[in-house]
Symmetry: C3
Subunit: 350 residues, 3 copies
C-alpha cells in the first residue's frame, strides 16, 4: 500500500486545511502539519487522533498527538490543538481515508491466472495469481481479483469491486459496484434444504442465486448461501463482519451492519439500517423490521417489527454463583408455588 | 448447469405424468405442462409450487402457478390444479430434482491441476484448475474435484463424490460415495489437544484420521478435525450445514442433520437421526442418543440419552425488559430467602 | 507422515527407557517394547495408553495395552505394566510426540509456486504447489508453506513455522518461530471499523497489522483481523482452536488457550494463561486479566480482572420444561412484587 504518508517528501496537510475540507472548527494551531493518524494513548507529534469513546478520555491529558478530533464537550480538557466536530469518529474515518489511500488498482491478468475464453473481462480489471474466472463470467472496470479466487460460471462483478484473496463465488453470483470481499468468503454455496423420506434425507436442489448490491463489505470466512428458488439478497451498503453465516433466501436491507459470528437461518428478512451484535443467532422465516438493533449473542426466535434495541442472554458471573443461579432457576416453578401457597394462607388469615 | 428446463425445446412434463412417477393425486388438469418449480408467492404459469409451511398459506389464493403440491387439508382453498400428497415438501424435493438436474459430470485433469504421479485416479474423475492431488491419494469413478482443492497424501474419495471448490482434505482423510463437499471445508486438520507442562502447552500429536461415509453433505467453511488416535467418524447420510466445527474423536450417527454454526467439542458421540439447530454448542466427552432433537443456540453440557426435544437459552426481549430480568435473576437467591422467611413467619402464626 | 513406528524394522522403545527419558516409575515389565500409542478401550499389545479422565476408568481392567500411564491412585487397578507419573496426560503427550514424529521438513520451491523476485526466502524453506509469496515478504529457515497459501506483501514468517495449506496472510503480517497454522486461516484481514454518516457507513481504513509471537498454533478457518492503527497481537505460546474470530486491536496474552468458535470483539485485551471454552463470546474494549478461565458459551460483557472461573448460560433441558421456565422467568418481576405484597401484609399482621 503506497500512501502519501509513506512518501518521505510528503510534509503533511495543515490542520486548518483538513478542517476546511472535512468540516469542523480548529482551536489552536491551524498551521501544524498532520502526516498521519494515531490512537490517543500512543500518538506522536505530526499525527491527529480522536476522542469518541469515554473509556479513552483518561488518555487525553497526556496525548502527544499534534491535534485531537473531539466534540465541544471535551474541548476544555484538550492539551493540544483541538478539531471540534459533531461526530469525531466519522471525521477520523474521513481523515484516515484521506491520509492513507487504499491500495493501488492494478490491471491485467497474472501469468498464472486462468480466465475462460468465453468470459467477459474489462481491460482495466486485474486477475491475480492462480485465480480462475469461469465461463460466462463478466468482470467490470477496475475490478481487483486477488490471488487464489474462484469466480464461477455466469458470475457478475460490478466496477471497482475487490475480492482480496481466496474468495469463492459459486455460479451465477451477482456483486454490485465497489464491493470489498475479504479472504475465505464463500458466496453462492448450496442452502441447507432437504426433505425427510422415511428416515433418509432427500436434497432440495438449490436453484436461486445470490444478489449483492453496491458498496457492500463482507468479512473473512463469511458464507452466504444461494436461494432455493428465489435469490438470497444483500442490499446496498450492507456491512458484514467475519464468520457470518447467511442462510438461503435471506434478505438483508440496505445499510445494515452485522458483527462477527452471527448466524441467520434461511428465509429470514432483515430490514434496513439494522445493527446486529456479534454472535447473535436469528431463526428462520422471521421478519426483522427496519432500524432494529440486536445486542451480542442475542437469540432471536420470533419476528421483531418495532425499531428498538433487543437483547437476551445471561452475562458472565463467577462460576460458583452461576451454578447456584442455575439451580434456583430450575426450581423457579416450585418457588412460584410456594408464593401461591403463602398467598392462600394469608388470605385465610385476613 | 444444463437442465431440461433450460432447453427452449423442452415443453415440460404433464402434471399427471409427474404424479404417476412420484405419487399422489391430481385434482384439476392432469395435462397441464410443468417446466419448472417456483415459490408460491412469485410463481408463474408453467411452474409447480408447494405449500408445506402454514406461514405461506396466505399466498395460496393468489398464486399464479399452474399447480400446487399440498396436503388434502389445503385442497379446498386451492385456486389452480392441486397435487395432493402426504408430504408436500418431499414431493417438491423430488420434482425439483427431476426438473433441474445436477451439474454435468466432467472428466479429465485440467491443464493447471497438479496430480502426483503416485496417486491413483479413476479415468472418469475430473480434477479442476489449480487443484492438487498428493501422493498416495485414490480418487474414485466420476469424482468431481472443483478448482483450488487440496487432496492430501493417502486420501480416499469414493465414486461420484464432489468437492465443489477450495476444499482441503488433510492426509489420510477417507470420504465415501456421493458426498457433496462445499467450498472452504477443511477436513482432517489437527484436533485441539495439548497438555500443560508447568505453564507451557505441549502439543498432543493428532494421529487419527477422518472417516466419512456415503451420501454425506458438508456445508461451506465447516471444519472436521482428525482424531487424536482413533478416527473422527461421520456416518452415512449425515448432513452438515455451513460453519460447523466438529472436534477430534467425534462420531456423528447416520442421517443426523446439523444446522449452521454448531460447535461439537472433542470425543462426543451423537446418535443416528438426530436434528441439531443452528448455533447449538455441544460439550466434549458427551453421548447424545439416537433421535435426539436439539433446538437452536442450545447449550449442551451433559449427555442426553432419551429421544425428545431439548432446549436452552433466553429468547430476545426489548433491551430494557431484559436488563430488568437479568437484575431479578441475579437476586433470585435473595428472593428465595424472602419466601423462606415468610413461610417461617406464617408457620409461627398458625 | 513417516514415523519410526511406520518402519517395519522398528522394534520399539523399552518401557523402562521411556520412563528414564520422560520421568516416572515403572511397575511391571521395564523391558516390554512400546511401538505406538493407543486409546485405552482399543489398545493392542505393543502400545502404551493412558488414564487421565475418570470417565475412562471403566476400561482399565480390560485394556490390551502393554502399559498404561496413570497416577499412583490408579496403580492397584492396573492389569498390565503401569507407568506412574504425576500428570499422565502430559507424559502421554511427550511419548506420543517421541513415537510419532511430525512430518518431515521439505525444502525448495514447488514448480507451480509463485515467489516474487523481491521477497527473501531462506534456502531451507519449502513453498508448496500454487502458493504465492508476494513482494517484500521474508520467509525464515525451514519454514513450510503448504499448498495454496498466500503470503502477502512484507509479511514475515519466523523459522520452522508451518502453514499447512490454504492459509492467507494479508500484507504486513508477522509470525514468529515454530508457529503451526492450519488450513483456511485468514490473518490480517480488515477489522470491522466504520463510522455512520447520516445513515451511510464510511469505512475506517485499517492501518495496523497482526503480530504473532513464537510457538503459536492457530486452528482451521480461524480469522484474525489487523489493527485499526496499532497492531493486533497474539503473544508467545497462544493456542487457538478452529473457527475463532479475533477482532481488530485485540491482544491475547502468552500461553492462553482458546477453544473453537469463540468470538472476541475489537480492542479487547486477554491476559496470560487464560483458558476460554468453546463458543464463548467476549465483547469489545474489555480487559480480561491473567489466569481467567471462561467456560463454554459464556457471554462476557464486562471486564474480568480477578483470576477464577467465570460462566453463564442455561444448560439444555427437555423442551417442555424449558418453555415453562422461560415463562416463569418472564414473569419474575411479578413474582417479586407478590413476595413484597406478602411481606407488607405480614408486617401488618405482626
Amino acid at each position: 500500500v503506497t500512501t502519501e504518508q509513506d512518501d518521505p517528501a510528503f510534509a503533511g496537510y495543515a490542520l486548518g486545511d483538513l478542517a476546511s475540507r472535512l468540516g469542523g472548527l480548529i482551536h489552536g494551531d491551524r498551521d501544524c502539519l498532520i502526516r498521519g493518524v494515531a490512537v490517543i494513548q500512543q500518538a506522536s507529534p505530526g499525527t491527529v487522533t480522536f476522542l469518541a469513546n469515554p473509556r479513552y478520555r483518561k488518555y487525553l491529558a497526556g496525548t502527544s498527538a499534534s491535534a485531537v478530533i473531539l466534540s465541544s464537550d471535551e474541548l476544555d480538557a484538550c492539551p493540544v490543538s483541538a478539531w471540534v466536530v459533531d461526530n469525531p469518529y466519522l471525521t477520523f474515518a474521513k481523515v484516515a481515508a484521506l491520509l492513507h489511500a487504499a491500495g493501488d488498482f492494478r490491471e491485467g491478468v497474472h501469468e498464472t491466472a486462468f480466465v475462460s475464453p468465453d468470459s467477459r473481462l474489462d481491460e482495466t480489471a486485474w486477475i491475480g495469481p492462480y485465480s480462475v474466472v469461469d465461463s460466462g463470467a463478466e468482470i467490470g472496470a477496475r475490478v481487483q481479483i486477488g490471488p487464489g479466487c474462484y469466480v464461477g460460471e455466469d458470475c457478475f462483478i460490478g466496477e471497482a469491486s475487490r475480492l482480496v484473496a481466496h474468495v469463492v463465488l459459486c455460479g451465477g453470483t451477482r456483486i454490485g459496484k465497489r464491493a470489498l470481499v475479504h479472504p475465505g468468503v464463500v458466496i453462492g454455496s448450496d442452502g441447507f434444504g432437504m426433505a425427510n423420506d422415511g428416515g433418509t434425507w432427500i436434497k432440495i436442489p438449490q436453484l436461486g442465486r445470490v444478489w449483492i448490491g453496491d458498496d457492500v463489505e463482507i468479512g473473512a470466512n463469511t458464507t452466504i448461501d444461494r436461494g432455493t428458488i428465489e435469490d438470497t439478497v444483500i442490499e446496498d451498503g450492507v456491512k458484514l463482519d467475519n464468520q457470518i453465516q447467511v442462510g438461503h433466501n435471506v434478505r438483508i436491507g440496505a445499510q445494515t451492519a452485522i458483527a462477527g459470528c452471527v448466524g441467520i437461518a434461511g428465509s429470514t428478512t432483515i430490514g434496513k439500517r439494522c445493527a446486529i451484535g456479534g454472535g447473535a443467532g436469528i431463526g428462520g422465516h422471521l421478519e426483522i423490521g427496519d432500524g432494529v438493533q440486536i445486542t451480542g449473542m442475542c437469540m432471536v426466535t420470533k419476528s421483531i417489527r418495532e425499531p428498538g434495541i433487543y437483547s437476551s442472554g445471561m452475562p458472565a458471573q463467577p462460576n460458583r454463583i452461576w451454578r447456584r443461579g442455575i439451580g434456583y432457576f430450575r426450581r423457579i416453578e416450585e418457588l412460584v408455588r410456594r408464593v401461591q401457597t403463602l398467598e392462600e394462607k394469608l388470605a385465610r388469615h385476613d
